[in-house]
Assembly symmetry: C2
Homo-oligomer: 228 residues x 2
DNA sequence: ACCTGAACACCGTTCAAGT
DNA sequence: ACCTGAACACCGTTCAAGT
């Protein structure tokens, strides 16, 4: 008689007493994401966490894509910061930093955030705060939407780049060598060569983020000044 | 005796006379990506395109990740535009637009571009041109790297958002309804509600891209003005 | 109605065996 | 050295059958 091993040993197969719920599934997925990473999260591991067969999940969610959708919204819960509503730049900084902070701090969150379009109950307050701040800037209605997209792309794009860069750093101990040593490129690509060291140097994410964000503000202010 | 069907019918199993090469594999992968999309591209379909077994590919590439790497560089071939080297803004506009245009025009290119860090022979000239333009702007060496990252994130992030939005548009005929009709949100999230229509309206990608890019320029100029 | 058990149609990857 | 054939350890998803 073989001893139980692996997940089975840690999770004795006590029969569930209650029915499964969608919230429970999403919470289990979030737990696995945080504990074991995105690659370890799938229908079978989520189901096992709930002491249930994978097929049982399909009673409560449509498919894997919907689970990702619900999970992403779950990860952004209570992310919207308290904003004063006086200076729109101050508000935008708070929102953008909270957003980025959350995306980076929840393991592999950026790998789910990619093609997300649905607006869940936890994303809504964040969007609302952002639109509020931007519409207080003096931008026209049309420009508010453009600025929103530019900010959203920047925050998500930056967080994605930051997360994958941090991931790489943790795997490749001893620093990243972005530019591979191709000596024949030295004269063909002088500009690239000149900045090769700076590219593989450790990044100051806070400073980079602030640079991009303040740049967006500058663009917004210029647009305001240019319109009647 | 069953008739051949599907791919087998279009690609009679004539024996290959020559050996496989890495370039050939990457070209086949690019062909499948363009013809059938990213979800249809895998080791087996790439191998079948070359009238070979999937296992044979591993003599010439390490794994799927390396194929993606090589493929992405392949897709960016000859993307670097001719730049005059006089006005850095003009150059950056040319580079950024060519970059975005290429990312969007090659089917599913943005799905591969995500966690790309390796610099292939086709990416190098693009990077070189970008660093050249930015260092002519008057930015300090340190700021050039920050500006480069901000631009890269913006271009890739924008192209990703544009591609997935276009993809959604082609699937959901009749326009996108970003904000689901949740009447109870109307008073809780007034700012979100006010812009809900604008969010689901068709997007002018060129205008949005120009907005973000010019905003980055404004930020760069402000940074230049602030430094000695 | 909800879940199980078993299956299906996939994936990436490995490896002994052929040529 | 290069490729085949077959297998392994996975995936998401479906469906009849149990309760």
């Amino acid at each position: 008689m073989a001893l139980p091993f692996g997940a089975a040993a840690r999770r004795p197969a006590r029969k569930r007493t209650s029915f499964l719920t969608q919230d429970e599934i999403v919470a289990a997925a979030a737990l696995i994401l945080e504990r074991d990473g995105y690659d370890a999260m799938n229908m079978r591991t989520v189901a096992a966490e709930l002491r249930v067969q994978a097929a049982a999940l399909y009673r409560h969610i449509q498919n894997r894509a919907e689970l990702n959708d619900l999970l992403f919204d779950y990860l952004m819960a209570d992310c919207a910061p308290h904003i004063r509503g006086i200076d729109w730049r101050e508000d935008m900084r708070l929102i953008a930093n909270a957003w980025r902070q959350r995306l980076v701090s929840r393991r592999d969150a950026t790998r789910i955030a990619l093609s997300q379009v649905s607006i869940g109950p936890n994303i809504a307050p964040l969007m609302d705060a952002t639109f509020g701040a931007l519409s207080r800037s003096g931008l026209s209605e049309n420009d508010v939407v453009e600025a929103y997209h530019a900010c959203l792309i920047f925050v998500h794009g930056f967080a994605s780049a930051e997360a994958s860069h941090r991931d790489l750093l943790s795997k490749l101990q001893g620093g990243i060598r972005i530019a591979p040593p191709r000596p024949e490129w030295a004269e063909a690509y002088p500009n690239l060569s000149r900045f090769a060291d700076a590219l593989s140097a450790p990044l100051n994410f806070d400073a980079h983020f602030a640079f991009g964000l303040e740049a967006l503000f500058a663009g917004i202010e210029r647009r305001i000044a240019a319109s009647p």
